[in-house]
Amino acid sequence: MPPRHPVTLNEPGRAELLMGNEAIARGALEAGVRVAAAYPGNPSSEIIETLARASDPKRLHVQWSVNEKVALEVAAGASFFGLRALAAMKQNGLNVAYDFLTNLNLCGVKGGLVVVVCDDPGGISSSNEQDTRFMARLTDIPLLEVSGFENARDMVRYAFDLSESTGSVFMVRSVTRISHGRGPVTFGPLPEISGNPRFEPGEAFTPFPILAKHERRHEVLKGLEETFSASPFNTYTGPDDPELIVVTSGIGVLFSEEALDLLEVRDRVGIARMGTTWPLPLTWIGNILEKSTRFLVVEEVDPFIENNLKEFLGGNTRRFGTKTVYGKASGHIPSVGGLAPEHVIGALETLLEVSYEPRPRAYIRLVKEKTSGLVIDRALGFCPGCPHRASFWAIKNALAKDGRKGIVTGDIGCYAMAMWPSGYSVAKTLQAMGSGIGVAAGMGILDTMGKDQPVIAVCGDSTFFHAAIPALVNTRFNTSPFVTIILDNSATAMTGFQPHPGTGMTCMGQSVDPIEVEDICRSIGFAVKTLDPFDLPATEAAVLEALRADRPQVLIFKRTCALLALKETGKAYRMRVDAERCIGEACGCDRYCTRVFKCPGLIWNPETEKAEIDEAICTGCGVCADICPERAIHREILS
């Protein structure tokens, strides 16, 4: 992100290019948010990063919380004292916060409380592509969906106002294509911040009596059906009696608009853009449904609007007669993955019996012919100089020497790539934050039933604080013999290096005493050993020793993330491959360093049949010098 960013300036009328997440943050600032909390997770992280730029202990508190549930609790605390508060999270994060959210919703809120959830259709930077909209409906929470950049800013402001006036938590859903896209936003004014937080006598926020509170939720939703029907976020453009109406939300809106233009079918097709998707804006949608007999629903990821429309139509057959709803169930729009403009174009081509091809056939043939075999995939891998590569190298070798076919349970973070060749494919399971240790604990106990394969759980430092501590306590309490390895790279690297309790710095720039992973593990009762994974022989020996123990073990591999290290300290070594010594194909069943170790800084030169260092990519970590059996890779210390 550019260091000088005007997103927090109080300059109404100024037009700036904002990322969707920045626009969401801007909306919160324009709404007078006082507390904002989140745990980093793509594609949501930049919301808090942006708000942090405007933070100030007297006016706006911003924090990275240890996990999403705590973030939402922090936001709720502020709301109970009458301040506007925001919690942001990715789709997986909502699951973590959900237990609290389902109860919070019954309790009601005082200061406007907005939960922004950024879904990741296609799972571009996630372990799944969960559509969280169902979770809003599941627990009676009003839901808005952003569909553009300025729209995102406006919608967050609107959500704060309605949250406060209805005493309800509001959910605003964004998706990767908007959160991580950028577009122009014209700034509105930032309000004066005033008023002290206050908890009035007689106030209480509890879910009791449960039935009355539940009833109250239904009343609120009922009222919102009408409020939403008049909302500026639901609009229709098109003929009065179109042969088809595209009903769409989120990124589907802009994709559908473009498809209608490219196919030149505006005179035949209408477009209904839905910004408020739960509860259904009954009056508005009823009018739309009366305009036509055929509807195409374009949304990401699951058929949420589609099913809700069908339910509404099904309950009102006398009013609506026979209508056809196309979308995911009919196969016109893909039922998995993120949307792309071509999906809408394709569906409209079929439904309207028109055809569209922007490129001449001859060109398409030429593309096939000319590119065949010339474009290969790029597998994901650890960065050059990444400490995880060294860690998994040591783990892989220790498991091989141990010889009992041990396995590794993986976890969420950069090191999840240990399931792929870059991490020597050692990790065999991957679920949720912190679950590597929990799953390993379930494997460890099988020793008494005859299991003889050792288990290693890996867990990052940020993940450790987020969700691994209970699993580790469980491991000790129920004595499950396996090895926990905490890969401490002093960063939440995957999501962009946000501070966490171990880094000693908050996002408001305050220094605090770092909480040491090692101290926590010791206090649970583990004799912890801390190693530098760049010291390959010592690391491998420690893993091997831990594998042979019959009680749970904890090792910490401590080494700063390569990206951070490069930024902070620069290259440690200049590397060179001694061509005389490099034995190339003959080395360790051919090309040991490039084929097996696989740091992108080391390249195989097929002409000389020797390894080489790629100066532009090597970060000078020095590790490969240790793996070369011929001692052909040399390091020279740089000052």
Binding site: L17, S125, E342, P358, R359, Y363, T371, L374, R378, S422
Partner: protein, 205 residues
Amino acid sequence: MSAFRCPYNLIIAGVGGQGNVLISQLIARAFIRKGYRAVVGETYGVSQRGGSVMSHVRIVEEGAVGPIIPPGLGDLVLGLEPMETLRILKAYGNPDIHVITNTRPISPVDVIAGNLSYPDLDAIFEAITTLSGKAWTLNASDMAMEMGSSLFTNMIMVGAMLGTGIVPLTMEDFVVILQTYAKPEGFDANRSALQKGFDIIKATE
């Protein structure tokens, strides 16, 4: 040479870590400053670690346009890596598309490992030329290394784009953007990188 018309669809193609997210923003800002509207669509996530990354920059005179370019509708590809440039042409190319590409390849993990080989570079350049209305090539990476860091590659590429004259932005327009949004410490070096890219294209025209 075809005229600049809106929506103008520019694609920046590269590999995670090359910094194309940053230049896509700077280019979009330069257009906004000239009175256009611009949106940027990014594909990144775990892509900071070696995957293909593309940014779409779409410029319109007014109204809104989606952040993702529909297939076949590219107007200009700014390729930071040759194979990535060709990857973009497969999906977004058309007979009129313009291409400016860096010639320095970055090997995928499988090539580094020696499991696959990097496709024939000459064939890649030939394909790029055949599949575009006009193509410019330059070794921006080596030029950047000569300046002391591969980080200047992008600015050289942007300079080259300005040098071709195909987009309505001048060196001055971009210098203002650097002054406003880039780190002041890097300003002089970035400006000279911009100039180098500009000059090398001017010299070959």
